[in-house]
């Protein structure tokens, strides 16, 4: 936002700029291009640089807090109305991928289906994995849970558990 769109010769003004960093972290570089009638510099760029430390995920949370007010905009809302792989991408992948805190998909696919089902429904004790089943306080309904289990561990590949 500019304080005024017209400056007389010698007049000073201000341009206010801010960046919304909610839910973001790492290196951020945002610019605003200023277009004026200055014939030498009709376009000038303003930039804000920052390195956002991820303090939110450095704290020790109880697993169930992931569905609470501070966290749900990322960990609950994004998955709403999604199924199967889409739901996995929205709700699970943020922790379950290579280099993140939880086991990646490739590793989960080697585990017995019933073990995964139990982990998804009830969570895993002493880890950040919460229970997702709505019957136990989670955000996912029965068909969503089933779709997720089928995506992570397709039933055809593990007949012995069914």
């Amino acid at each position: 936002m500019a304080s005024s769109s017209r400056l007389k010769p010698g007049e000073k003004g201000k341009i206010k700029m801010s960046v919304d960093i909610r839910g973001k972290f790492g290196s951020i570089y945002k610019t605003v291009q200023v277009q004026t009638n200055d014939p030498q510099r009709p376009q000038t760029t303003l930039a804000l640089k920052m390195n956002v430390k991820d303090l939110i995920h450095m704290k020790d949370y109880a697993a169930a807090e992931i569905f609470g007010d501070a966290c749900k905009s990322c960990h609950v809302e994004r998955g709403k109305g999604r199924q199967g792989q889409d739901l996995y991408v929205a709700d699970c992948m943020m922790c379950h991928s290579e280099g993140k805190s939880a086991s990646p998909l490739s590793e989960m696919r080697t585990k017995p289906r019933e073990e995964l089902e139990k982990a998804i429904r009830h969570g895993v004790e002493k880890t950040a994995m919460p229970g997702w089943d709505s019957k136990f306080g989670g955000p996912l309904r029965e068909e969503e849970i089933r779709g997720l289990i089928d995506y992570v561990r397709p039933p055809s590949k593990n007949r012995r558990s069914n």
Partner: protein, 64 residues
């Protein structure tokens, strides 16, 4: 010497007002907040000045 040059420029501008131009000056067009946390504010005010001799018009601000 400098004064004479400035005086000549001044006279020149007086004589040819059609050459008067606005000139945008920005104090530090890039601001680095360094390392901050998600709770910190990221607002910054850029100081600008018209160092030209006719009105400067800010036509548009286009965010990236």
């Amino acid at each position: 010497m400098k004064k004479i040059v400035l005086a000549i420029i001044f006279l020149f501008l007086q004589a040819f007002p059609a050459l008067a131009q606005p000139s945008l000056h920005i104090d530090g067009p890039e601001h680095d907040f360094g390392t901050i946390s998600q709770e910190d504010r990221t607002e910054h005010i850029f100081g600008i000045e018209n160092r030209g001799d006719s009105d400067l018009i800010i036509e548009k601000l286009v965010p990236s």
